[in-house]
């Protein structure tokens, strides 16, 4: 296959599957799914440091040459998100940030007003902003305009496993994107990831469907295959949908029986 790496913020990522590590029951499972997914980048959250903590997530990830993408999960305001991003940059020595500014715990849906404000501030502060957003083409456009390096619409609410509920909106976002589009949130199983890639998304970001699967490493492998399959299908170009059948065998040369 020709080189089809994802290029984002001027950097090449070999895998188009970005893995969230949230929800994994142990560090061993994190290691297993990193390996099975073949991912090039995984997300982490910033939380209060436990002095007793043994086994560093950072070591586990960087030992595999996987890039860290810290997030601002849990932040409700632009102020909180900007501070969290700055702390992540200081702790992890990266200016890449997955920006999440959500409205409440129940929906975990982005708060568009705070999100756009935070994105603008962070871009101004030199961050490479990966913005977790709604499946709203206009908000995606605004996030691109303020300088985000990737827009990451949710297919459905975080952790819901409902898949891509509005493929049309995702396709609209892809159609006018000037930066990579990453389908983030809502994936339930492999076919959801494949669909996202068939719609033209540049990558898929998922955590729960792998970390909470009965066999996380097996599902990580399934997701990697689905993302790759969906990407190949997108590049190959699907046939047009039609209302009636079109026989694939020749209609001429039939014997008279």
């Amino acid at each position: 296959m020709t080189d089809d790496a994802l290029v984002v913020a001027g950097e090449k990522l070999e895998s188009r599957l970005i893995l969230g590590t949230g929800g994994a029951p142990s560090m061993q499972v994190v290691e297993d799914i990193l390996d099975a997914s073949g991912t090039s980048m995984c997300t982490v959250s910033m939380r209060r440091a436990d002095p007793q903590m043994t086994g560093s997530l950072i070591d586990v990830v960087t030992r595999r040459n996987v890039r860290l993408l810290p997030n601002t999960a849990g932040c409700r305001t632009a102020r909180e998100a900007v501070l969290t991003a700055q702390l992540a940059r200081d702790a992890l020595d990266t200016d890449w940030i997955k920006l999440e500014v959500v409205a409440d715990e129940h929906t975990v849906l982005p708060d568009a007003i705070e999100l756009l404000d935070a994105a603008e501030q962070l871009v101004g502060d030199g961050f490479k902003v990966f913005a977790y957003t709604n499946d709203d083409p206009i908000l995606a456009r605004r996030l691109q305009r303020v300088g985000c390096v990737a827009v990451m619409p949710g297919g459905s609410p975080i952790g819901s496993g409902l898949g891509v509920l509005n493929p049309h909106n995702i396709a609209m976002i892809v159609a006018e994107a000037t930066v990579p589009v990453v389908l983030d949130a809502g994936i339930g199983t492999a076919s959801d990831a494949a669909l996202a890639m068939e719609l033209g998304c540049d990558a898929v970001l998922l955590a729960s469907p792998v970390t909470r699967a009965q066999e996380p490493a097996l599902m990580a492998e399934a997701m990697a295959a689905a993302v790759r399959g969906g990407r190949l299908a997108f590049r190959a170009g699907r046939i047009a949908k039609r209302s009636h059948a079109v026989a694939s065998s020749p209609t001429t040369g039939m014997a008279i029986l």
Binding site: G20, V44, R47, N71, L87
Partner: protein
């Protein structure tokens, strides 16, 4: 003097720097970030940053997350 570290009130010696606090509490300062009174305290400032009585310090690190 008393300070608040990650939400817990603690007594520390007067004149303690943030760098001393971190090295005394954490196995490593790798991957650790600090905020004091709601503002980021960049790593490069830790050794000169003398904590004040009543300061609220947050020490953060990377954990599993989506």
């Amino acid at each position: 003097m008393n300070v608040i570290i990650n939400g817990e009130k603690e007594t520390v010696s007067d004149g303690l720097t943030l760098a001393e606090l971190v090295s005394g509490r954490m196995r490593t300062d790798k991957g650790v970030a600090a905020a004091v009174d709601g503002a980021v305290a960049p790593r490069s400032t830790w050794s000169d940053l003398v904590l004040q009585d009543g300061a609220a310090i947050e020490l953060l690190t990377a954990v599993q997350g989506g």
